[in-house]
Symmetry: C2
Subunit: 189 residues, 2 copies
Protein backbone atom coordinates (compact mmCIF):
# COMPACT_ATOMS: atom_id res chain seq x y z
CA UNK A 1 0.00 0.00 0.00
CA UNK A 2 1.39 3.37 -1.04
CA UNK A 3 0.93 6.70 0.76
CA UNK A 4 0.21 9.73 -1.42
CA UNK A 5 2.30 12.87 -0.83
CA UNK A 6 0.73 15.08 -3.48
CA UNK A 7 2.47 17.21 -6.11
CA UNK A 8 5.95 17.52 -4.58
CA UNK A 9 9.53 17.70 -5.85
CA UNK A 10 10.18 14.48 -3.98
CA UNK A 11 12.61 12.16 -5.76
CA UNK A 12 15.50 9.93 -4.69
CA UNK A 13 18.39 10.19 -5.45
CA UNK A 14 19.29 13.79 -6.36
CA UNK A 15 22.82 15.09 -6.94
CA UNK A 16 24.58 17.78 -4.90
CA UNK A 17 26.51 19.89 -7.37
CA UNK A 18 28.22 23.24 -6.85
CA UNK A 19 27.95 25.54 -9.86
CA UNK A 20 30.92 27.79 -10.58
CA UNK A 21 30.43 31.03 -12.50
CA UNK A 22 31.82 34.54 -12.96
CA UNK A 23 29.78 37.70 -12.59
CA UNK A 24 30.09 40.71 -14.91
CA UNK A 25 32.99 41.99 -12.74
CA UNK A 26 34.88 38.67 -13.02
CA UNK A 27 34.18 37.73 -9.42
CA UNK A 28 33.90 33.94 -8.99
CA UNK A 29 30.73 32.56 -7.42
CA UNK A 30 29.63 29.14 -6.27
CA UNK A 31 26.07 27.88 -5.73
CA UNK A 32 24.70 24.46 -4.87
CA UNK A 33 21.98 22.83 -6.96
CA UNK A 34 20.12 19.54 -6.65
CA UNK A 35 17.84 20.13 -9.64
CA UNK A 36 19.94 18.80 -12.49
CA UNK A 37 21.32 15.84 -14.38
CA UNK A 38 22.89 14.63 -17.59
CA UNK A 39 20.39 15.36 -20.39
CA UNK A 40 22.03 14.30 -23.67
CA UNK A 41 24.78 11.97 -24.89
CA UNK A 42 25.50 13.68 -28.26
CA UNK A 43 26.37 16.44 -27.71
CA UNK A 44 27.27 15.46 -24.16
CA UNK A 45 25.20 17.84 -22.05
CA UNK A 46 24.12 18.45 -18.49
CA UNK A 47 21.14 20.50 -17.31
CA UNK A 48 20.79 22.54 -14.14
CA UNK A 49 17.75 24.53 -13.04
CA UNK A 50 18.06 27.96 -11.41
CA UNK A 51 15.63 30.51 -10.03
CA UNK A 52 15.87 33.95 -11.60
CA UNK A 53 16.47 35.40 -8.12
CA UNK A 54 19.84 33.69 -7.79
CA UNK A 55 23.12 35.46 -8.50
CA UNK A 56 24.24 32.48 -10.57
CA UNK A 57 21.26 32.92 -12.93
CA UNK A 58 22.47 36.40 -13.88
CA UNK A 59 26.04 35.19 -14.22
CA UNK A 60 25.11 32.39 -16.63
CA UNK A 61 22.98 34.74 -18.72
CA UNK A 62 26.00 37.03 -19.18
CA UNK A 63 28.93 34.59 -19.32
CA UNK A 64 27.15 31.65 -21.03
CA UNK A 65 29.30 29.13 -19.18
CA UNK A 66 29.45 27.25 -15.89
CA UNK A 67 31.21 24.42 -14.12
CA UNK A 68 29.55 21.55 -12.27
CA UNK A 69 31.77 20.82 -9.28
CA UNK A 70 31.19 17.54 -7.45
CA UNK A 71 31.94 17.95 -3.73
CA UNK A 72 33.19 15.02 -1.66
CA UNK A 73 31.32 14.22 1.55
CA UNK A 74 34.10 15.90 3.53
CA UNK A 75 33.02 19.20 1.93
CA UNK A 76 29.34 18.80 2.87
CA UNK A 77 29.39 21.85 5.16
CA UNK A 78 30.81 24.09 2.43
CA UNK A 79 28.45 22.63 -0.18
CA UNK A 80 25.46 23.34 2.04
CA UNK A 81 26.69 26.85 2.85
CA UNK A 82 27.08 27.92 -0.78
CA UNK A 83 23.49 26.78 -1.29
CA UNK A 84 22.26 29.01 1.54
CA UNK A 85 24.28 32.23 1.08
CA UNK A 86 23.92 34.58 -1.90
CA UNK A 87 26.82 35.67 -4.11
CA UNK A 88 25.24 39.12 -4.27
CA UNK A 89 26.46 39.86 -0.77
CA UNK A 90 29.10 37.25 -0.07
CA UNK A 91 32.39 36.03 -1.51
CA UNK A 92 31.57 32.38 -0.94
CA UNK A 93 34.98 31.14 -2.07
CA UNK A 94 36.62 33.35 0.57
CA UNK A 95 34.21 32.34 3.34
CA UNK A 96 34.61 28.62 2.71
CA UNK A 97 38.33 28.76 1.98
CA UNK A 98 37.81 27.07 -1.38
CA UNK A 99 40.05 28.08 -4.30
CA UNK A 100 38.62 29.25 -7.64
CA UNK A 101 40.61 28.14 -10.68
CA UNK A 102 39.97 29.84 -14.02
CA UNK A 103 39.00 27.25 -16.61
CA UNK A 104 41.11 27.20 -19.78
CA UNK A 105 38.10 25.93 -21.78
CA UNK A 106 35.01 27.81 -20.59
CA UNK A 107 34.35 31.25 -19.12
CA UNK A 108 33.86 30.01 -15.55
CA UNK A 109 35.90 29.05 -12.48
CA UNK A 110 36.07 25.60 -10.89
CA UNK A 111 36.87 24.47 -7.36
CA UNK A 112 40.48 23.31 -6.93
CA UNK A 113 39.73 21.20 -3.84
CA UNK A 114 36.77 19.19 -5.20
CA UNK A 115 37.58 15.84 -6.85
CA UNK A 116 35.56 16.25 -10.07
CA UNK A 117 34.54 19.10 -12.36
CA UNK A 118 32.43 19.22 -15.52
CA UNK A 119 33.13 22.30 -17.69
CA UNK A 120 30.13 23.53 -19.68
CA UNK A 121 29.10 26.07 -22.29
CA UNK A 122 25.44 27.14 -22.16
CA UNK A 123 23.78 26.02 -25.41
CA UNK A 124 20.11 26.45 -24.43
CA UNK A 125 17.97 28.05 -21.76
CA UNK A 126 14.40 26.93 -21.22
CA UNK A 127 11.78 28.55 -18.98
CA UNK A 128 9.65 26.08 -17.03
CA UNK A 129 8.17 28.14 -14.20
CA UNK A 130 9.94 29.20 -11.01
CA UNK A 131 13.05 27.59 -12.45
CA UNK A 132 14.90 28.10 -15.73
CA UNK A 133 16.85 25.23 -17.21
CA UNK A 134 20.39 25.90 -18.39
CA UNK A 135 21.59 23.19 -20.75
CA UNK A 136 25.35 23.08 -20.89
CA UNK A 137 27.41 21.27 -23.47
CA UNK A 138 30.12 19.37 -21.66
CA UNK A 139 33.52 20.48 -22.97
CA UNK A 140 35.66 18.51 -20.53
CA UNK A 141 35.46 16.45 -17.34
CA UNK A 142 38.41 16.57 -14.96
CA UNK A 143 39.02 14.25 -12.01
CA UNK A 144 41.69 14.44 -9.32
CA UNK A 145 44.46 11.87 -9.76
CA UNK A 146 43.95 10.62 -6.20
CA UNK A 147 40.25 9.93 -6.96
CA UNK A 148 41.08 7.46 -9.76
CA UNK A 149 41.16 3.67 -9.49
CA UNK A 150 44.06 1.44 -10.54
CA UNK A 151 42.83 1.53 -14.16
CA UNK A 152 42.87 5.34 -14.18
CA UNK A 153 39.07 5.64 -14.12
CA UNK A 154 37.02 7.72 -11.67
CA UNK A 155 36.40 5.80 -8.44
CA UNK A 156 32.99 6.41 -6.83
CA UNK A 157 34.33 5.64 -3.36
CA UNK A 158 37.25 8.06 -3.71
CA UNK A 159 35.21 10.86 -5.30
CA UNK A 160 32.62 10.29 -2.54
CA UNK A 161 29.80 12.38 -4.05
CA UNK A 162 26.85 13.53 -1.95
CA UNK A 163 23.25 12.39 -2.54
CA UNK A 164 20.36 14.67 -1.59
CA UNK A 165 16.96 13.47 -0.44
CA UNK A 166 14.54 16.17 -1.57
CA UNK A 167 11.63 17.19 0.69
CA UNK A 168 13.19 15.28 3.60
CA UNK A 169 16.29 17.49 3.14
CA UNK A 170 18.98 14.99 4.05
CA UNK A 171 22.49 14.45 2.66
CA UNK A 172 23.90 10.96 2.26
CA UNK A 173 27.09 9.27 1.15
CA UNK A 174 27.20 6.71 -1.66
CA UNK A 175 28.13 3.19 -0.58
CA UNK A 176 29.64 0.16 -2.23
CA UNK A 177 29.06 -1.07 -5.78
CA UNK A 178 26.16 -3.50 -6.13
CA UNK A 179 26.58 -4.45 -9.78
CA UNK A 180 27.66 -3.53 -13.29
CA UNK A 181 25.27 -1.63 -15.55
CA UNK A 182 24.27 -3.17 -18.89
CA UNK A 183 25.38 -6.46 -17.37
CA UNK A 184 23.54 -7.74 -14.27
CA UNK A 185 20.20 -7.53 -16.09
CA UNK A 186 21.27 -10.12 -18.68
CA UNK A 187 20.15 -12.71 -16.14
CA UNK A 188 16.59 -12.11 -17.40
CA UNK A 189 17.40 -12.93 -21.01
Amino acid sequence: MKKSFGAQTMAFPNPVWCIGSYDAQDRPNLMTVAWGGICCSKPPAVTISLRKATYTYGNLMVRKAYTVNVPSVKYVTAADYVGIASGKKTDKFKTTGLTPVKSDLVDAPYVAEFPMVIECKVIHTFEIGLHTQFIGEIVDVKVEQDALDDAGQPDMAKIAPIVYGSQVQTYHRVAEEIGKAFSVGKAFR
Copy 2:
Protein backbone atom coordinates in the same frame (compact mmCIF):
# COMPACT_ATOMS: atom_id res chain seq x y z
CA MET B 1 46.34 17.65 -10.13
CA LYS B 2 43.34 16.76 -12.25
CA LYS B 3 43.24 14.31 -15.16
CA SER B 4 41.23 15.39 -18.20
CA PHE B 5 38.70 12.90 -19.64
CA GLY B 6 37.41 15.02 -22.51
CA ALA B 7 33.82 15.73 -23.48
CA GLN B 8 32.03 12.84 -21.73
CA THR B 9 28.69 12.30 -19.99
CA MET B 10 30.63 11.59 -16.84
CA ALA B 11 28.91 12.82 -13.68
CA PHE B 12 28.39 11.46 -10.17
CA PRO B 13 25.81 10.75 -8.84
CA ASN B 14 23.10 9.86 -11.41
CA PRO B 15 19.70 8.37 -10.59
CA VAL B 16 18.41 4.97 -11.73
CA TRP B 17 14.76 5.47 -12.59
CA CYS B 18 12.37 3.14 -14.41
CA ILE B 19 9.93 4.96 -16.67
CA GLY B 20 6.43 3.50 -16.93
CA SER B 21 4.33 4.19 -20.02
CA TYR B 22 1.57 2.75 -22.22
CA ASP B 23 1.88 2.22 -25.94
CA ALA B 24 -0.92 2.96 -28.42
CA GLN B 25 -2.36 -0.52 -27.75
CA ASP B 26 -2.44 0.03 -23.97
CA ARG B 27 0.45 -2.32 -23.34
CA PRO B 28 2.53 -1.25 -20.33
CA ASN B 29 6.25 -0.71 -20.82
CA LEU B 30 9.15 0.00 -18.50
CA MET B 31 12.53 1.54 -19.38
CA THR B 32 15.46 2.59 -17.24
CA VAL B 33 16.96 6.07 -17.50
CA ALA B 34 19.87 7.75 -15.75
CA TRP B 35 19.62 11.02 -17.69
CA GLY B 36 17.11 12.96 -15.61
CA GLY B 37 16.37 14.96 -12.51
CA ILE B 38 13.99 17.38 -10.84
CA CYS B 39 13.93 20.53 -12.99
CA CYS B 40 11.41 22.94 -11.40
CA SER B 41 9.78 23.57 -8.03
CA LYS B 42 6.67 25.46 -9.27
CA PRO B 43 5.15 23.68 -11.05
CA PRO B 44 6.89 20.66 -9.53
CA ALA B 45 8.51 18.98 -12.51
CA VAL B 46 10.98 16.27 -13.39
CA THR B 47 12.87 15.87 -16.66
CA ILE B 48 13.99 12.67 -18.35
CA SER B 49 15.91 12.35 -21.62
CA LEU B 50 15.12 9.69 -24.19
CA ARG B 51 16.50 8.71 -27.57
CA LYS B 52 13.98 8.71 -30.41
CA ALA B 53 14.85 5.06 -31.08
CA THR B 54 13.36 3.91 -27.78
CA TYR B 55 9.86 2.48 -27.49
CA THR B 56 9.20 4.75 -24.52
CA TYR B 57 9.85 7.85 -26.69
CA GLY B 58 6.95 6.91 -28.97
CA ASN B 59 4.73 6.07 -26.01
CA LEU B 60 5.29 9.45 -24.36
CA MET B 61 4.66 11.30 -27.61
CA VAL B 62 1.26 9.59 -27.88
CA ARG B 63 0.12 9.30 -24.26
CA LYS B 64 1.71 12.50 -22.88
CA ALA B 65 2.28 10.91 -19.50
CA TYR B 66 4.79 8.75 -17.64
CA THR B 67 5.73 7.50 -14.20
CA VAL B 68 9.17 7.67 -12.60
CA ASN B 69 9.54 4.48 -10.58
CA VAL B 70 12.39 4.34 -8.05
CA PRO B 71 13.72 0.77 -7.76
CA SER B 72 15.22 -0.48 -4.52
CA VAL B 73 18.66 -2.06 -4.65
CA LYS B 74 17.04 -5.49 -4.40
CA TYR B 75 15.52 -4.83 -7.85
CA VAL B 76 18.84 -3.90 -9.48
CA THR B 77 18.74 -6.90 -11.85
CA ALA B 78 15.26 -6.01 -13.11
CA ALA B 79 16.15 -2.31 -13.34
CA ASP B 80 19.21 -3.13 -15.44
CA TYR B 81 17.27 -5.54 -17.65
CA VAL B 82 14.52 -3.06 -18.55
CA GLY B 83 17.29 -0.68 -19.61
CA ILE B 84 18.78 -3.28 -21.97
CA ALA B 85 15.68 -4.89 -23.56
CA SER B 86 13.28 -3.08 -25.91
CA GLY B 87 9.53 -2.88 -25.37
CA LYS B 88 9.08 -3.23 -29.12
CA LYS B 89 9.84 -6.94 -28.85
CA THR B 90 9.45 -7.77 -25.17
CA ASP B 91 6.83 -7.56 -22.43
CA LYS B 92 9.30 -6.42 -19.81
CA PHE B 93 6.77 -6.51 -16.97
CA LYS B 94 6.10 -10.18 -17.73
CA THR B 95 9.78 -11.10 -18.05
CA THR B 96 10.75 -9.45 -14.78
CA GLY B 97 7.62 -10.50 -12.88
CA LEU B 98 6.89 -6.88 -11.97
CA THR B 99 3.25 -5.77 -11.75
CA PRO B 100 1.93 -2.78 -13.74
CA VAL B 101 -0.71 -0.71 -11.90
CA LYS B 102 -2.81 1.76 -13.87
CA SER B 103 -2.42 5.25 -12.41
CA ASP B 104 -5.65 6.99 -11.41
CA LEU B 105 -4.06 10.36 -12.14
CA VAL B 106 -2.01 10.07 -15.32
CA ASP B 107 -2.23 7.94 -18.46
CA ALA B 108 0.63 5.60 -17.48
CA PRO B 109 1.28 2.50 -15.37
CA TYR B 110 3.51 2.30 -12.32
CA VAL B 111 5.37 -0.59 -10.70
CA ALA B 112 3.54 -2.12 -7.73
CA GLU B 113 6.68 -3.62 -6.19
CA PHE B 114 8.90 -0.51 -6.23
CA PRO B 115 8.86 1.68 -3.10
CA MET B 116 8.36 5.08 -4.74
CA VAL B 117 6.61 6.44 -7.82
CA ILE B 118 6.34 9.95 -9.29
CA GLU B 119 3.32 10.38 -11.59
CA CYS B 120 3.82 12.91 -14.39
CA LYS B 121 2.05 14.64 -17.24
CA VAL B 122 4.27 15.75 -20.14
CA ILE B 123 4.14 19.57 -20.32
CA HIS B 124 7.13 20.18 -22.63
CA THR B 125 9.45 18.33 -24.96
CA PHE B 126 12.77 19.79 -25.96
CA GLU B 127 15.18 18.50 -28.60
CA ILE B 128 18.84 18.65 -27.62
CA GLY B 129 20.58 16.21 -29.97
CA LEU B 130 20.62 12.43 -29.68
CA HIS B 131 18.27 12.84 -26.70
CA THR B 132 14.94 14.60 -26.34
CA GLN B 133 13.96 15.98 -22.95
CA PHE B 134 10.50 15.20 -21.65
CA ILE B 135 9.51 17.60 -18.89
CA GLY B 136 6.78 16.14 -16.73
CA GLU B 137 4.67 18.04 -14.25
CA ILE B 138 4.54 16.01 -11.05
CA VAL B 139 0.92 15.25 -10.19
CA ASP B 140 1.57 12.97 -7.22
CA VAL B 141 4.34 11.13 -5.42
CA LYS B 142 3.50 7.82 -3.76
CA VAL B 143 5.68 5.90 -1.30
CA GLU B 144 5.17 2.45 0.19
CA GLN B 145 4.05 2.53 3.82
CA ASP B 146 6.90 0.21 4.82
CA ALA B 147 9.42 2.67 3.29
CA LEU B 148 8.37 5.49 5.63
CA ASP B 149 10.09 6.55 8.85
CA ASP B 150 8.39 6.97 12.24
CA ALA B 151 7.25 10.48 11.27
CA GLY B 152 5.57 9.15 8.12
CA GLN B 153 8.19 10.63 5.78
CA PRO B 154 10.11 8.76 3.06
CA ASP B 155 13.16 7.01 4.52
CA MET B 156 16.22 6.91 2.23
CA ALA B 157 17.51 3.71 3.84
CA LYS B 158 14.19 1.90 3.39
CA ILE B 159 13.57 3.14 -0.15
CA ALA B 160 17.18 2.16 -0.92
CA PRO B 161 17.47 3.89 -4.31
CA ILE B 162 20.24 3.03 -6.75
CA VAL B 163 22.98 5.46 -7.83
CA TYR B 164 24.59 5.12 -11.26
CA GLY B 165 28.16 6.05 -12.05
CA SER B 166 28.10 7.10 -15.71
CA GLN B 167 30.99 6.13 -18.01
CA VAL B 168 32.31 3.71 -15.38
CA GLN B 169 28.89 1.96 -15.55
CA THR B 170 28.54 0.91 -11.92
CA TYR B 171 25.51 0.74 -9.64
CA HIS B 172 25.78 1.69 -5.98
CA ARG B 173 23.61 1.82 -2.89
CA VAL B 174 23.10 5.00 -0.86
CA ALA B 175 24.53 4.93 2.64
CA GLU B 176 23.86 6.72 5.89
CA GLU B 177 22.84 10.34 6.35
CA ILE B 178 25.79 12.72 6.78
CA GLY B 179 23.86 15.90 7.59
CA LYS B 180 20.78 18.04 7.18
CA ALA B 181 20.41 20.29 4.13
CA PHE B 182 19.97 24.03 4.65
CA SER B 183 21.45 23.44 8.09
CA VAL B 184 25.01 22.09 8.35
CA GLY B 185 26.29 24.98 6.21
CA LYS B 186 25.23 27.57 8.80
CA ALA B 187 28.55 26.84 10.50
CA PHE B 188 30.16 29.21 7.95
CA ARG B 189 27.95 32.17 8.87
